[in-house]
């Protein structure tokens, strides 16, 4: 180690760069050998959730996510290992999952198909009714549970496969850098509330929206408020990794659910509904009507049961008490139907059985339909509609109606391609810059520190991104390009200033550096102030760009540039 190198390495500015680099690497914590598949989310009421596996927060650092390492002692290295294993699973078996955090026992659940038979059977069920009773001399309405015998069609359940484990996984991340949706694929929806919300209502809205998506089965979601300079409010929803186009309408629905009998509200979604059944036993394709052709489309009906609060049940009893009974196709119905509305739009109408007249029934069935080109598609669509309706009934309505104003569905495979080509691009650009600098300075001794400084700057910038949990998307990449580009420019200024009049005594080193930094700081301040307005404009669409640029500039000006100047000083003095 010669004298100059030694001096270089002991310079406090250079040491500061090393510390920055070290911190950045720790923050990014790269591990190219990270094995297994990382758990993105857990579906509610699935085998995985009953086994106690927990979804990590969407804001958690990528490297802290739980990773599945083996299943039944078969090592899982990547997604295809995982799917190969899962495909062989049979129902009602216990499997062992080993993650980097612990062991879990999962019991696979059977996938049932329930068919209705023509035979009937007797069943005894409990029903809550309200009766007038005289207590202490006053007539009061009291709830009573009575046993009732009903005749129902026999059902047969067949096991047709294994229910999904409820694990959503992806290849284990190798760094703490969060890829934005542009790079990893996913769905991004920007919504605007129809009227202005105060901060309390906005919080309620965001919470409800998150809850709604979780109930629907998506836990790896980011829901946050964004604004713009004109004071418009927006809600940004990002769902990573998956193309979830169907959740669009789930989000734009205010979810105001109402059931009405002759224009009087019987019950509403949310508070009036105490339970929504989502298991295969009491929800699914309606076995009594099933699927059929309507025109040139297949239509399927779905149904699921819900439980009403006693107040809502009583309301229904009051509203049906004075209705007449009519007979239709040999069955007795009431003259009025019950109409179901979602966001003031009628979604279904149901006949009310004559035996429900004037009775406070808490358990009722809700139905609806879905259509498609083929029977398969119709089944799929009606089950999807059912899931959305169930979600809305559980989570209740949002404070206002929301309009979708922007959606992006980015395919995950495109993102991977993009990352690859961006890396190649970056590398080639660096080589091109190196060549030009070589033509100009003709000394590797001068050019190598320049290139190293640029690389250090990019790594430090990525480190900051990892620490603040910033998503790297296209805008951020553009920001990195401009930060590194400006960095190279500043280094050229410093180098030229250092080489100027090398032999002339008129220049002392301090003056040279002062001259160079006068230019460097000038461009830093102008660019800094130019970027700040962009952070707040237009629903934050360019915030990533502005933020990355400003952070990149600051790292450059305060950390790497002084160190570069120190190195150049030693090199030119040599």
């Amino acid at each position: 180690m010669n004298y100059t190198t030694k001096k270089m390495l002991t310079n406090w500015r250079v040491i500061l760069v090393f510390i920055t680099l070290l911190l950045a690497v720790v923050a990014i914590s790269p591990n190219p050998y990270a094995d297994g598949v990382a758990i993105r989310s857990i579906t509610m009421n699935s085998s995985a959730s009953s086994a106690g596996i927990e979804s990590s927060k969407p804001t958690a650092a990528p490297m802290t996510r739980e990773r599945i390492i083996s299943m039944n002692n078969i090592p899982i290295h990547n997604m295809s290992d995982y799917y190969n294993f899962v495909d062989t699973l049979e129902p009602n078996r216990t499997i062992q999952i080993k993650t980097n955090k612990g062991m879990y026992q999962l019991v696979t659940q059977p996938l049932l198909k329930i068919t209705i038979l023509n035979e009937t059977e007797q069943k005894i069920i409990n029903e809550t009714i309200f009766v007038n009773e005289t207590i202490n001399g006053t007539v009061q309405l009291v709830e009573k549970i009575v046993e009732k015998t009903i005749i129902v069609n026999k059902t047969r359940s067949e096991i047709i496969g294994t229910e999904d484990l409820g694990l959503v996984v992806y290849d284990a991340p190798t760094t703490n850098l969060r890829k934005g949706l542009d790079l990893q694929g996913g769905t991004r929806v920007l919504l605007a509330p129809e009227e202005k919300l105060d901060s309390d209502n906005m919080d309620i809205l965001l919470e409800n929206m998150k809850y709604r998506l979780n109930v629907y089965g998506l836990s790896d979601v980011v829901v946050r408020e964004v604004g713009d300079l004109s004071g418009n409010q927006y809600i940004l929803v990002e769902i990573a990794g998956a193309n979830e186009q169907e959740v669009k309408d789930l989000m734009s629905k205010q979810g105001k659910f109402e059931a009405k009998i002759s224009n009087d509200t019987v019950f509403k979604g949310g508070g009036d509904i105490t339970h929504v059944c989502r298991t295969a036993q009491c929800s699914g394709i309606d076995p009594s009507s099933g699927c059929g052709m309507s025109g040139d489309l297949w239509v399927c009906r779905f149904m699921f049961s819900i439980s009403l609060s006693p107040e809502a049940a009583q309301k229904q009893a009051d509203l049906t008490r004075n209705l007449d009974v009519i007979t239709e196709n040999g069955e007795d119905y009431l003259t009025e139907k019950i109409y179901l509305y979602l966001d003031d739009e009628q979604v279904d109408e149901l006949n009310i059985g004559a035996d429900l007249k004037g009775r406070a029934v808490t358990d009722i069935a809700i139905s609806g339909s879905g259509s498609g080109q083929t029977e398969q598609e119709a089944i799929f669509n009606s089950l999807a509609n059912m899931k959305k309706l169930q979600t809305v009934l559980i989570t209740g309505s949002l404070p206002v109606k929301l309009n979708i104003i922007k959606t992006d569905n980015i395919s995950p495979s495109l993102g991977n391609e993009f990352v690859k080509s961006a890396l190649i691009m970056g590398l080639l650009s660096l080589v091109a810059v190196l060549l030009i600098l070589m033509i100009r300075y003709r000394k590797l001794k001068l050019v190598i520190p320049m290139i190293i400084t640029s690389i250090v700057e990019s790594v430090a910038l990525l480190g900051v991104a990892a620490v603040i949990g910033w998503n790297l998307d296209l805008a951020a990449i553009a920001g990195i390009i401009i930060a590194v580009g400006t960095g190279i420019n500043d280094q050229i200024v410093i180098t030229d200033e250092a080489l100027r009049g090398e032999k002339s005594e008129a220049y002392d080193w301090k003056k040279k550096i002062k001259n160079a930094f006068f230019i460097v700081m000038g461009s830093y301040f102008t660019m800094g102030v130019a970027m700040i307005p962009l952070m707040f404009a237009g629903a934050g669409l360019l915030k990533g760009f502005a933020l990355t640029t400003v952070i990149g500039f600051s790292i450059g000006v305060f950390i790497t540039r002084p160190a570069y100047a120190a190195i150049i000083e030693l090199l030119t003095k040599e």
Binding site: S411, A475, S523, A530, F536
Partner: protein, 381 residues
Amino acid sequence: MGDEQPKEQLSGHIQHTCEHKPEQKNAEIKIEKPKLSLKQSLIHFYDTKYRKILFFTLSLLILSVFLIGLKIAKTGDFVEKDISLSGGMTITIFHEQSYDIKELQNYLASQFPDKQLSIRSLTQLGKTVGIIVEGTDIDSDKVIASLGQKIGTISAEDYSVSMMGSSLGNTFFRETLKAIFVSFMFMGLVVFLYFGENLKMKFIATIATFIVGAMIFGGTTSIIKDFIAYILGLGLITLYYKNNRPSFIMILTVFADLVVTLAVVNLLGMKISTAGIASFLMIIGYCVETNILLTTKVTKKKEGSVIERILDAFKTGFIMTATAVSAVLIALVFTQSDVIKEIMAILLIGLIADMIYTWGQNVALLRIYLEKKSANHELHN
């Protein structure tokens, strides 16, 4: 460094001429002209014909303003907005095979006769890697299903769909323009604080710039408030003109760079997206840097002649722009992303315009300013 030899020779005799009247200098140089290398004659041209260069850059600027004005008259807007700003749907399908784009276009037109759909191919290194379909007011699923019948089923993994509401596009565009205006004013302020000399004026300019920012960004938006802010902005520029000419010259150069870039972008028929707006901001950044370099060297330094200082700055600035251009070119060729391509193309145009305006217009205006200043100085003495 051997290549500095001829320049030193040249600047040697300029040193005692240039500080005086330009007519004298011309005469003197012509006399001792006999053999000049290409480089020397270029430098000679640059040194003496700066008024011609200025005439060229100003004509280009006026032509650009005229072209943009024509565009506004024709389309009502000064840029061609793409779907991401005007509202609509974009489907990007990655499918590595070659397509007959015309045939697909006709096919889609027959499938959706009442809709406006445009289709183009996506290329990387000249190879087709996919197609892009754009349209307004149409269900993307239907388009994908119908395209699938023509080119084979498209799996959900292989395409991306973006939808932008026209109201958001408009708001975004309007706001970003305002943000660029405020950025520009702040940039002007920093330049004035940097190069200006009058402390009182600096104080006034700072307060006024913050008022402009607050008026554009604060509270509810109103046309009157915006209008006052723009007037105040113009007032500030006038203040820079009166108080510190180099600052004004620099602001004019950055402005010209942006305007000329925009005119070229329009001429090439490029459409601007949200990302395109970001690239205009990048241009401000690059342009400011070379201009600060030039203005610092020319106005803050005393040693050497003016042309010597200019050439010194040019040597540094040229390498700065050259490295940027090389990186931009590489990105332009190797990317498969339409967004990155757009950013890089605009940046490339801007960098070339920056070369012309920094080393042509800014240099010429600075020299005229310095001549007048020294003439005044002599007069006072």
